[in-house]
Symmetry: C2
Subunit: 110 residues, 2 copies
DNA sequence: TTATTATATTGCAATATTACGATATATAAA
DNA sequence: TTTATATATCGTAATATTGCAATATAATAA
């Protein structure tokens, strides 16, 4: 037990859940918003910006990356992280579709 | 340790993270999509629909409810759950805003 | 009142997440 | 090569999540 039963759900459901889970921590929301705000995007900047230790931030960046929400490329000694537009587009599309369906449907049963 | 440091982040960041976290499980995505699909929305239906035990589903419903993503009202012996449009609108707005900012910005540094 | 039915809560085992110190790695500068 | 700088990984403690059997609660039916 304590193990999510991913095999019982569709790939799409699992994919959305994985991305949502990656955004389910305020530090990772803060990282996303910081990357959106700045032009230069180096990991060190994020460490200075957030009140968390460097290994913790590195871990959060890894999670955002593996969820397809950010990308990172080596830039000399440092690493340039930036938003992965594809991942965010998927989230945007998902919620836009849900909202559209919700509007079509007369959600007045409760 | 092991405790999320919510006090270091803004209320808005925490609010989005809380809702994203609630959607960070495929069963909860499946519940949302089921509520969107059906007209009648009784907890028992969800228990029949998903391959999880009744207490597990009850727990997932509780999480979605406390995150403001669904609402529940007593309907005789059973409970009528349905989508909370306000919560989903917040998520939709958030990702729409992010996408808009991303388009304005020339995200070409990586 | 006594079933019956529907949902919630409790308790617990298995697993995952969060955070960080210590350390490793890898590039650039001296 | 040695040193400095930037980021990643390891190991680990504290806490949270997932899932379910057992049980509680609460409304209706008999």
């Amino acid at each position: 037990m304590g193990l999510t039963k991913t095999e019982y759900f569709t790939d799409k459901q699992n994919a959305i859940a994985t991305m949502a889970k990656a955004l389910g921590h305020p530090a990772r929301i803060a990282i996303l918003e910081y990357l959106l705000k700045v032009d230069t995007c180096i990991c060190g900047d994020i460490v200075n910006e957030l009140p968390l230790a460097q290994p913790t931030i590195s871990q959060h960046l890894k999670e955002l990356k593996s969820a397809g929400l950010i990308k990172g490329s080596i830039e000399g000694t440092s690493i340039c992280y930036c938003i992965d537009e594809k991942g965010l587009e998927k989230m945007q599309n998902y919620f836009a579709t849900i909202s559209l369906k919700l509007n079509k449907k007369n959600n007045k049963c409760c």
